[in-house]
Amino acid sequence: MIRHLIRLTWNRRRTYPLLIAEITISFLVVLVVVSSAATFLRRYRLPMGFDPRNVWAVTCDVNASGFFDERSQEEHERQLLLLREVRGLPEVAHASYVFSAPYGPHSSTTTLDKEKDLSVETNVAGDDALATLGLRLVEGRWFEPGDGQLNIEPIVIDQRMRRLVFRDGKAVGEEWAETNDERSRKHLVIGVLEAFRRGGELKEPLPYFFYRDHPEKASSLPLKTLVIRLRPGTPTAFEETLISRLRALAPAWSFTVEPLTEARRRHLQEMTTPLLIGGLLAGSLLLMVALGLVGVLWQTIIRRTHEIGIRRSLGATAGDIQRQIVGEVMVVTSLGLALGFALALQAPLLPPVRALGLHFYGLCVVLAAAGIYALNFLCAMYPSRLAAKVVPADALRYE
């Protein structure tokens, strides 16, 4: 029966080039949506490496200063004063400066491998950042007050960077040279973190490493973000107290507070809104295609009443007819999908698809194809029932 349907549909292929084109395009649309959604889902399930609960990010800004302006010695000392003040508050468990805050807009990257176009994101954090952000060390140690005396820059890397740079070898205690243009600087790896996905749950995880914020010298990059871990149960009203304490010490500065859980919510919303809109658009397109398919099938059945009558007179049961119509739709769908596969095969050349990994992309292709089959199967149900209801005697009388 299947061979019969394939031959029948193949011989009729000229009747439905548009239907096939529609199926192909729908498949590609679904593929894009499925692979985006799957990418997000996969990223969401990877470990974050920090704990945003009870953490606030306080941006300390010297009046609209430029991001890369150096800070004067006076400003640097004021920063240290602010940190001491915050640590002294009973509601605060831990506090530390960082260069770029989790979920925040600023980041800095450095080149890991120029030829392979590999970047690693970097950050600067104080000795207390481990406890403040709830980072998880898997090897070695975090920065300590004594690290200022080292004559080499200590860094703490994450497992992604460890895999890229050291493969399976030893990482802690090894040196790594950061090469930027002509200059090369040596760093000493002192610890490995599980991960640090600063960009947020739905951003692509990047290899990562931390420099130490040396309080004894004014950093060339000013650290504008103070992260604070509050003791559980601290009321939100504490924000006003905190800001007024900070302001008393630095009247000319401005302070903005955002709880990381709030920043996380904002991040998720910002990332999922486009996907949601895309999904809705794709859904509507599919609905349109589905209605169109039902319409075309309906017409086909009206035109083929005769053929149905003959098949019935030759002994096909109503069920046989229904299966035949559904089968034909499945064959047409397969033709459209074959075309779609041919196009989808070109996609692995694109960088975003390469980043997904071939296995994963293949899974998305299979899922999208299954979705289209299911949709077309449902669309064929009603018209095929109509076809099964054709009364053979009437169909044959109508000549």
Binding site: I310, L314, P392
Partner: protein, 221 residues
């Protein structure tokens, strides 16, 4: 074997009631060759549809091997049609998008057979109507007579006991019609297949065993 007992058929539409057949008594026995004649609108096709189990009578009974046909559900009726009956139509009704071989295979699709058996049966059936050389052609590439022979091959491929032909020569010239009738006669004589043929042509009707004449839905002999 197949018997109509006092059968009537009324078509009802919203406004009209048409008595297509009334009080028909007819027996088709193994080896019978019957002709049904009558002017157009006299109920010939309806009679054939009733015999072919495609339609249900509004009065009377259709019995197959002594069993009331109306008791059967659609699936059983379809299987009965598939195994016991073969159809040949005036305008051939071949599926234009399928090759000759695929057309002949259609009735076998609804039986649990392997592809190879289906193919062999279809080829043998085409051989019986003398079309072995045309199996991969499409209906549009064949003459009217050849198309009707394909239709006959399709009707007999499942070895039915009764062949129902609705004006099989109606769309053909007399020479070709003659050939078709010869095939039907041969099937009847050599294989003992019962044939019921609706026809307008007195010459062809006279070559059968029995003629049933219809007028306004009634039997008039």
């Amino acid at each position: 074997m197949l018997e109509l007992k006092n059968v009537g058929k009324v078509y009802r539409t919203e406004r009209l009631e048409t008595q297509a057949l009334e009080g028909i008594n007819l027996k088709v026995r193994p080896g019978d060759f019957l002709a049904v004649m009558g002017p157009s609108g006299s109920g010939k096709s309806t009679l054939l549809h009733l015999l072919g189990l495609l339609d249900q009578p509004t009065q009377g009974m259709v019995e197959l091997d002594g069993r009331q046909v109306m008791d059967h559900d659609d699936v059983t009726l379809s299987h009965l049609r598939n195994e016991m009956l073969g159809f040949v139509f005036q305008s051939f009704h071949l599926v234009a998008d399928l090759s000759v071989l695929d057309n002949v295979e259609i009735p076998l699709l609804y039986r649990p057979l392997s592809n190879r058996v289906r193919r062999d049966l279809a080829l043998r059936s085409l051989g019986r109507v003398g079309l072995s050389s045309r199996v991969h052609h499409y209906p549009s590439q064949l003459s009217g007579g050849q198309q009707q022979r394909v239709a006959i091959a399709r009707a007999i491929v499942g070895s039915p006991r009764i062949l129902l032909a609705d004006e099989p020569t109606g769309n053909l010239d007399s020479q070709t019609g003659e050939e078709i009738i010869a095939i039907l006669e041969e099937l009847n004589r050599k294989e003992g297949m019962s044939v019921v043929m609706v026809t307008h042509d007195q010459r062809f009707a006279e070559r059968t065993h029995r003629i049933i004449r219809l007028f306004d839905g009634r039997q008039i002999n």
